[in-house]
Structures are given as structure tokens and as C-alpha cells.
Symmetry: C2
């Protein structure tokens, strides 16, 4: 029995996913036992029932993220790591402590089993790094050409500590805007890899779980107004969303935004604005001005916030509707609009 998958999938050393791995029958069971359970083992998942049983109480955060990144493997991460950090970060942005993850896999027939094993191992590592457990999952296989490799949709549950109220609509005039580190790393990395561009310098995704960073920030000041991770659409989309939800203007100081030199170089080469590039291990915090310094200090001590910087502030709405402005290095001011983004599919 334990050799079921090996026997059926092996074709020389070239083990491939078959349609029957998604059938609900013997090969599905073998795939679960030999690939998923091995890398993600924990007492809840190991029960293998139709659903995981969790003991929880109080206010919970619940979120979902589908991951379709192309290429599946990129410097600094892969779709597996991303599928954990993406959902962990959505939970953390509500001020929640991320706890449990479910994962639905859609796999293309013929996908290499070795690659799937790498991806699932990477999920296991990211889950340990984030302090979460993958407790439920599902696998479907579609015929060759009906999907592109593998897609992973994760959903997560986190616990929100009493007294914490963070929301995208909480920004208030006078708030200080903080970013946890360099901007555009993930987007620049994936796009460069996709375009086949090699940089001599090390360009890699920032893909990381931010639960501990948020927890340190909340310990420094429980009164955080907004937390958001600038993923798809980048800093530009995130700031525009917050401005609209909160009914405020936001002004950032272009010269204060931290960038890696290699991201700047990639953006110049690819003709991209780094402010619309996805980040997968960064957050933006809106904090009452008085609390900004202690929060910044706490961030810089955390491994995921070493390059944290104050980049702007919140203003009363100036014109007919909320807007985001950048103060340029030359002192002038330009509007940062909501990106239309047609050029950046499958970044996460």
C-alpha cells in the first residue's frame, strides 16, 4: 500500500501527477499520505477527517487568497511559501495572531511530483516560520492544458486579541504612515524571472510572514489605526484603498521610500513604477503621530522590519474626493492614482 504512488506514478525517474490523483480513490489517498501529510504533519491534520476540529474563542479573523504566481519558483520563494505568507499576512493585517490554514490545490495533469514535493515542503517551512498549522486541505487534478502547473488557494483563521481594532477605514488626519521595509522586491523579482532577465546583484522576493512583526508593533502601541500589506497593485493601490475607505488624503515623501538598488535597476530596465509592484513581506501602518516612534523602534528590532521608515502622513481631504499625493524629491507634488495594472498578471 505504501508504495502505491511510487509504483503508479513512476515512469523512470519522472514521476508525474495523473488525473487519478484527483479522483478521490486510491491514488488520492496515496498522494495525501506520501506528499501532503509528510511535509505538513500535525495532530489536527493527521486525523484525516472531512474537516479539522479547532478549539477557539473570541474574535476571529478569517480570510482567503488564491495563488497563481508565474513562474511557480522564483528567487526568495515559490508558490508554496507565498500561499502561506499571503494568508498569514492578511490575518496579521487585522491585528490577529495567525493560527490555522486550509489549502486547496488545483494541479495540472503531468505536473512533476518532485516539484509538488518541493512546494509542499516550502509550505511546511513557511508555516513553521509563521507559527501556523495547515490543518485542512483538498486536491483536484485537471487535464493537461486546463490549468498552468499548480494553483493554491489558502484560507486562514487567526485570533484577534481583546482591545485591538485595526481596519482599512481607520486612517485619521495627522496619522503617520510607516512602511516596514524596501518596496517592490517581490514584483521586480517575479517579473525579472518571467522576462528571463538575470541581474548580477541578488534580486529576490521579500515573501515573508508578518505575524510576529504585527505582534511586536501592537505591544509597542495597541492603537494602530491601519495595517495593510501592499501586495497586488503595490503601495499605490493600497494607499488609494485606504484613502478611499477612510475618507482622507495621504501624502507620502518620495525620497523617504526605501528601495533596494537592484529593484530600482529592474524597474528602469522593465519600465515599471516600483510603487505599483507587489510586495509579499511588507506592511504599511497608519499610527497616531505620538505613537509613531515607539512603533518604528519595535519594527526595526524585528527581523521583518529592519528597514522600516516613516514615509508620509494623513491629511484632511483637500479636493472633491480622497487622493494620494507624492511629494517629489524636487519638492513638487504629484497624484498617485489607483493602478489599472493590466501589465502585471499572476504576480501572486
Amino acid at each position: 500500500m505504501s508504495n502505491g504512488m511510487g509504483k503508479t506514478m513512476k515512469n523512470g525517474n519522472d514521476r508525474r501527477i495523473l488525473l487519478a490523483h484527483g479522483s478521490g480513490g486510491r491514488l488520492t489517498r496515496d498522494l495525501v499520505e506520501q506528499v501532503f501529510s509528510k511535509a505538513l504533519a500535525n495532530p489536527i491534520l493527521d486525523r484525516m477527517d472531512d474537516a479539522a476540529i479547532l478549539e477557539l474563542e473570541g474574535r476571529l479573523a478569517f480570510t482567503a487568497d488564491s495563488h497563481v504566481v508565474s513562474p511557480i519558483f522564483f528567487p526568495g520563494g515559490d508558490i508554496g511559501r507565498l500561499s502561506i505568507t499571503g494568508t498569514v499576512n492578511d490575518l496579521a493585517m487585522m491585528g490577529a495572531r495567525p493560527l490555522y490554514i486550509s489549502a486547496g490545490f488545483i494541479i495540472e495533469e503531468g505536473f512533476p511530483v518532485d516539484d509538488l514535493e518541493s512546494i509542499v515542503a516550502s509550505m511546511g517551512e513557511a508555516a513553521r516560520e509563521a507559527g501556523v498549522e495547515v490543518v485542512a486541505g483538498d486536491t483536484k487534478v485537471v487535464e493537461r492544458g486546463a490549468a498552468d502547473g499548480v494553483f493554491i488557494t489558502t484560507s486562514g483563521i487567526g485570533s484577534i486579541p481583546p482591545g485591538i481594532h485595526v481596519s482599512g477605514s481607520g486612517a485619521r488626519p495627522g496619522d503617520t504612515v510607516i512602511i516596514s521595509g524596501t518596496v517592490g522586491d517581490h514584483g521586480a523579482t517575479v517579473l525579472s524571472k518571467r522576462e528571463g532577465i538575470d541581474f548580477d546583484t541578488e534580486l529576490k522576493s521579500d515573501c515573508a510572514p508578518l505575524g510576529s512583526l504585527v505582534s511586536d508593533m501592537l505591544a509597542a502601541s495597541p492603537n494602530l489605526h491601519v495595517l495593510r500589506d501592499p501586495t497586488r497593485g503595490g503601495v499605490a493601490a493600497t494607499l488609494n484603498e485606504i484613502a478611499a475607505s477612510s475618507g482622507v488624503d495621504i501624502e507620502i515623501d518620495e525620497g523617504k521610500i526605501p528601495y533596494r538598488a537592484e529593484v530600482r535597476a529592474a524597474c528602469e530596465l522593465l519600465g515599471l513604477d516600483p510603487l505599483v509592484l507587489a510586495n509579499e513581506g511588507k506592511l504599511m501602518a497608519f499610527v497616531p503621530a505620538a505613537g509613531a516612534e515607539p512603533v518604528l523602534e519595535a519594527m526595526r528590532k524585528n527581523r521583518y522590519g529592519g528597514a522600516a521608515a516613516i514615509i508620509g502622513s494623513v491629511k484632511e481631504v483637500e479636493s472633491s474626493r480622497p487622493r494620494v499625493y507624492a511629494r517629489t524629491i524636487l519638492g513638487s507634488r504629484r497624484i498617485i492614482s489607483m493602478p489599472t495594472g493590466e501589465q502585471l498578471p499572476r504576480i501572486c
Copy 2:
């Protein structure tokens, strides 16, 4: 602003999903507001934060299901209805009251917006029928040819009442095996539709949410040993899983399994064994013999259990490992083995 999607997607009357609908920018927001929020509106989803906030306590069930059914629309349902009922039923099979759903959409560029609207409307209806709310979601768009239409991964949270302990490993010798209705309806319908076979009689999927059925059964007898919905791999796979997890033999009486005439006809035509066909609105219950009649009676009074029937019982393991047997109409006995299932991809 509110015309954003209409303007950009319209091409005559032929509105199509564009890559930019998955970009995280303006069109993503328009899609969320104009398609998803409209059909699925509820106070939690309407907050539009990175995660939903729920107030819950006690034992929770948590599950995930990816849906890739082909064709997307079939008699009796569509991928939207299926994505709700599939996850609701996984929760119900743990004895949980299904409460909240998250949904991750992966959509192929060029997919008709009208079809997406139908699917999301169908999700909304199924959610109301099941008494659950879709509270979190995500949408990704992949380029033409990188997915087949639309895939939906749902994850669900339910609340398990105190004192309820249902598990796939709970079957005990002497237990009565009950099925909630006719077998094979969903599988036969989807396969017939896919093969382009039209039956004069009405063949349709049984796709339905079973939370209220389980709740009525638990009210009749809280001591249910096992609840399982025989989806992928059908009754054959489900019985084999339960036998293996519980370490028992299971014997069913072939003559007592309820089938619709049109399902029998479809199986004969397509050369299929109805016991390996997926069901999407049926459950199997393993109940101590003394409690079987009250449970059966409660099931028959529920709209989703009208044709419930006792089909077998649990025995001590007879040979070297747990097995499932069918007593045939002629009185002989055959082994029902775990299906390998290569022939039935994308049934759910």
C-alpha cells in the same frame, strides 16, 4: 466610478473578464463591488477588509474544497452552488453547524461576465439555502489557456455542538449503515452532460446543503458514529475509507441501495458502476443499531432525506484487513474495492 467595469469590459454586449480584473487595481475593485458584493452581500463581507471578523467560541470545524467541475453549468446546479454545498457538507459531516464560507476564484481571461454573475448568484442562493454567509474572498485572473473557465476554492467554518463527536474512524461492529437517498445522481448527470447525452427523463445533480439534515439527525440521536458524504469516488470510496479508518468490515445489501431509474439508464449507457459515482447532496450515517429507526425517521421528514434507507451494517474484520462487501441480489457476496477512478476527472 460605478461604471468602471461596464465601460472597460463591454465590447458590444459581450462582457468578458480581463487580466486587469485580477490586478488588485481599479478593475478588481469594480468586479468585487459589481459582481461579488451584489450577490453575496452581508454585513461582514461588506466591510471589505483584508479578513472577515467573526465572533465564535467552542469547538469549530474548518475545511477546504477546490471545485473544478466540467461542465461549469449542469442540470441541477453549477460550480457556484457546488462550491457552497461541498464545503457546507464537509462541515456538516463533522456534526458542525455550517456558518461561514470564504471563496477564492481563479478565472480565465475572456470568461463571460454574465456566466460569472450567474455563478455568483447561484452561490448566494445556495448560501441562503444552507444558512451560511460568504464572508471573505479573493479573485485571480490568469491568461487565456492557463485555466479552464473558472475554478472556485471554498473554505468553511462551522460550530460543533457540545457532546457531538462524529468521525470517519467511529464505525463499530453492529452499527447500521444508512444512506440519505438515491445514489449516483451528480456523477451520472455531469458525465452525461459532458458526453453530450440527453435523456428524456430528468437526470439532474443532487447537489444540496445537508446541514439541516444532520441537525435533525443529531436531534433524533446525538450518538451518530460516522457521517460522510460520498462525493468523489462515490459510495465505494467512502465505505472503503471508513472501513480502513475504523478497522471494521462493512457489508451492504445491493438490493437496498436506492437509485433513480435515469441514473441506472445512464450508467448502463456509459458503462459505469453507480457506486463509484459522485454524490453532492447525500450522506451516509453509521448509527448504533438501536438508534437506527429514529434517525431514519428524522431523515425521511427532512427535505434532503426523503428517500433515506438502511443499506447495510458493520462487522468485525474477517480477513487480514478491513474490507467492504456487497451482498448481491442473487445472494452471493462480492468485494467492493477502493476505486482507482481514472475515468472520472473533474466531477466536482
